[in-house]
């Protein structure tokens, strides 16, 4: 029986052209209409396509249209790039002051003598000025610092920042913090940094610059270790050495308090300064609180390179001091709200990301903070909670998704979002796009 009358079913030519995307829109539509209703022709196309050898061509990119989320990230990336370039073009001295002032309230070493701020601040401020002391304790420090500058500049130029950042020390030095453990953390951090410094004097500057490049793409990494430990190491040179002992034990809260005082001297609004605070990153779960080593500045990229570029002998240390007094910001979800703490969990500040958003879990690493909630809702902050972006896993909000049960950050670019349905959505570009991983049988 001739079931396939010629006019009725599309010819092989047409079906093949359809399967190979070679039809114009109108004809494609008419073939689709037929296929939707004709099981046999679906079968034919299916068989022919299945018989296509591996590596045969013709898969269009998955994206079929404009995605707002992509655009948003592109905008962020572009603005970071612009700011970076601008900072490099504008004279370093001009850029340095405002950036330091805004990016880290602690360090106002432009006018160190002006105020008598908290001891930490004073020391921090003095650090740059007393670069000579660095030389005392490490005679060749200046030379090395300059070497580091060059390396940093190279890293900037080649864009190897991300690579350097990631290879430098692995992702997210995550410490568990209990009340009694902070000191240990600090001590560890000091050790780490000292080791690092001795092993490679160029590292800090390199890390600093790579940190900036990595901003927006990579998050924490070696840099974070460096930054978080940097403050603790700060007093090391010269006569301040004793400062380590002083500084290490009084952990986060004290430092925070000092900083706040300093801020109040500088800025009338403590709120602003809180927002502007450039440090701390946390990883928190509902019950336990994990803290990842903190990355430094949120302020747009250029600060460290700029300070490096000043070529002052203390430039390197300037980077260090600038990030001093960082208390990792902790995150948690409590009774349906996101909370963060900047004082190791003493005071928790509730944050609202969006109306009707019911957070379920929060994970932070470096500057990245991921918050997952009911019905696949997902928010990402890349600046430690200052600004948030709503992320849509599927590219639109139409499809109902399961609740976010888990967020796994393998590195700042590679993140898995697990839903209650068992779906595993993975991004390998830091949240710009997601794909649904095939289920394991």
């Amino acid at each position: 029986m001739a079931a396939h009358a010629p006019g009725e079913h599309p010819e092989a030519e047409q079906l093949n052209a359809f399967a190979e995307n070679a039809l114009a829109a109108q004809e494609r539509e008419s073939v689709l209409t037929h296929l939707a209703a004709c099981e046999d022709c679906r079968e034919i196309v299916g068989l022919a396509v299945e018989a296509r050898p591996e590596g045969a061509p013709l898969v269009k990119p998955a994206r079929d249209g404009f995605r707002w989320a992509t655009f948003q990230w592109a905008a962020v990336a572009a603005s970071v790039a612009i700011v970076t370039v601008a900072a490099l073009v504008v004279g370093p001295k001009e850029t340095r002051a405002p950036q330091l002032a805004t990016s880290s309230p602690v360090v106002h070493h432009q006018q160190p003598a002006e105020a008598q701020p908290a001891p930490e601040v004073a020391e921090a401020a003095n650090m740059d000025l007393k670069a000579g002391r660095v030389a005392e304790s490490k005679p060749d420090a200046n030379a090395k610092a300059r070497g580091a500058e060059k390396k940093a500049a190279t890293a900037m130029g080649t864009g190897s920042g991300i690579g350097a950042g990631i290879s430098g020390g692995g992702f997210g030095g995550v410490y568990k913090v209990d009340e009694g453990q902070k000191t240990t953390n600090g001590a560890n951090a000091v050790t780490k940094l000292q080791e690092k410094k001795e092993a490679s004097p160029a590292e800090p500057a390199k890390a600093a610059s790579s940190r900036e490049l990595a901003y927006g793409a990579a998050g924490p990494s070696a840099n974070d270790t460096f930054y978080s430990s940097a403050p603790l190491n700060r007093p090391a040179p010269g006569s301040v050495t004793g400062g380590i002992a002083q500084r290490v034990p009084p952990p986060a809260p004290a430092a925070d308090g000092d900083r706040t005082r300093a801020e109040e001297q500088r800025k009338s609004s403590s709120e602003i300064s809180k927002d502007k605070r450039s440090d701390s990153v946390a990883q928190a779960s509902n019950e336990s609180v994990e803290v990842s080593a903190q990355a430094a500045t949120i302020a747009p990229a250029p600060a460290p390179p700029a300070s490096i570029k000043t070529k002052s002998s203390g430039a390197d240390m300037g980077v260090l001091t600038r990030t001093y007094a960082s208390t990792p910001r902790l995150w948690r979800v409590r009774s349906g709200k996101i909370e963060s703490s900047d004082d190791s969990g003493k005071v928790w500040q509730s944050r609202t990301l969006a109306k009707e958003f019911q957070p379920m879990n929060v994970v932070a690493a470096g500057q990245q903070v991921w918050v997952g909630g009911k019905a696949g809702a997902l928010f990402l902050s890349r600046d430690n909670g200052q600004t948030w972006t709503k992320i849509s896993l599927t590219g639109d909000d139409i499809i109902p998704l399961g609740d976010v049960t888990e967020i796994k950050i393998a590195n700042p670019l590679l993140v898995d979002v697990i839903l209650s349905s068992g779906d595993d959505w993975q991004t390998n570009d830091g949240g710009k796009s997601f794909r649904l991983l095939p289920r394991k049988p």
Binding site: A3, A37, A48
Partner: protein, 306 residues
């Protein structure tokens, strides 16, 4: 039947394009002259271009053709030995591989491919006694893909014939199963409304959505398979499928409520086990198709109830 050209390719203004494509196609190698080449293009363009297609459209269309393979197919059809040599070197192996892949069986696959070869060499035709199936290749997709599709077509034709025979046997052997059909036909009024609402909702879907729904739910294809058929990424299909299913449900719900059901009743109607509902989606989808063969429809409807 050779297609009747609707669009007449104006060779003169398109001469540069045709000349360029002639070189590209290496038609000379297989003994096709420039004039013959223009004739081949004319037939293809006549078949697919609308009568009022502009010169630019024609030029774009011609450039999109796989002229090298088109020329090879025509040369083979004309019995050019060099062309056949090239054809066999290039496509013999893929053809047998495709046969095996489609039939999922070595012997059947080989048989399938062999029978296609016979058709390619020449089928019986009314007018001049012999006509190669290759004449039906028009160069819009790849020749290899076309060969695979022809194989698949042939396979489905045979398979369906066989299946029809089998289903008749089944009907005799397992008459009890078929006896259940009248029971299902005694539909409640809710079912009738559900059927109408489903029909309407299905009609409202885009053809792509219908295609995806049918492939996924009726043909049991995987997301990956559907994605390959549509040349998109798997996640796109996943997304579209979810969206279409949701839209369909919403439409049916609205339709049911419009037909006088309360929301709760509508929900209940939808929550009933699909297998208990006498709505034949396969038939609903097929209904839109204007089938000349009415037996075909009942066949499909029958399968839907299996």
């Amino acid at each position: 039947m050779p297609p009747k050209p609707i669009y007449a390719l104006d060779v003169k203004p398109l001469a540069p394009v045709i000349a360029e494509l002639y070189l590209l196609s290496e038609a000379q190698k297989v003994g096709i002259t420039k004039e013959a080449f223009a004739g081949i293009l004319g037939v293809v363009a006549g078949k697919y271009l609308t009568t009022n297609a502009s010169e630019k459209e024609a030029s774009t269309f011609l450039r999109g053709l796989r002229v090298q393979e088109l020329v090879l197919a025509r040369a083979c059809s004309a019995g050019n030995e060099i062309a056949w040599e090239i054809f066999l070197t290039k496509f013999r192996e893929p053809l047998y591989n495709a046969g095996r892949a489609i039939a999922k069986n070595d012997a059947t696959g080989r048989e399938l491919a062999d029978s296609l070869y016979a058709d390619l060499y020449g089928m019986k035709s009314d007018d001049d006694g012999r006509r190669s199936k290759l004449d039906y290749y028009m160069g819009r997709g790849s020749l290899e893909g076309w060969l695979r599709t022809v194989l698949a077509q042939e396979f489905v034709n045979r398979y369906r014939t066989q299946k029809r025979l089998v289903s008749l046997e089944e009907e005799e052997d397992a008459g009890v199963q078929f006896a259940a059909a009248p029971a299902a036909a005694a539909t409640t009024s809710a079912d009738a409304r559900l059927e109408a609402a489903t029909d309407e909702a299905l009609r409202a879907l885009s053809s792509e959505d219908k295609f995806i729904l049918a492939s996924y739910f009726l043909d049991d294809r995987t997301l990956a398979e559907i994605a390959r058929m549509l040349n998109v990424h798997e996640s796109t299909i996943s997304r579209k499928l979810e969206r279409a299913a949701k839209a369909l449900r919403g439409e049916i719900m609205a339709g049911l409520q419009q037909k006088g059901m309360s929301r709760r009743q509508a929900e209940e109607a939808l929550e009933a086990d699909v297998r208990d509902i006498a709505v034949d989606v396969r038939a609903s989808l097929g209904r839109e198709r204007n089938l000349q063969e009415s037996g075909m429809k009942s066949f499909q409807a029958g399968k839907g109830q299996e």
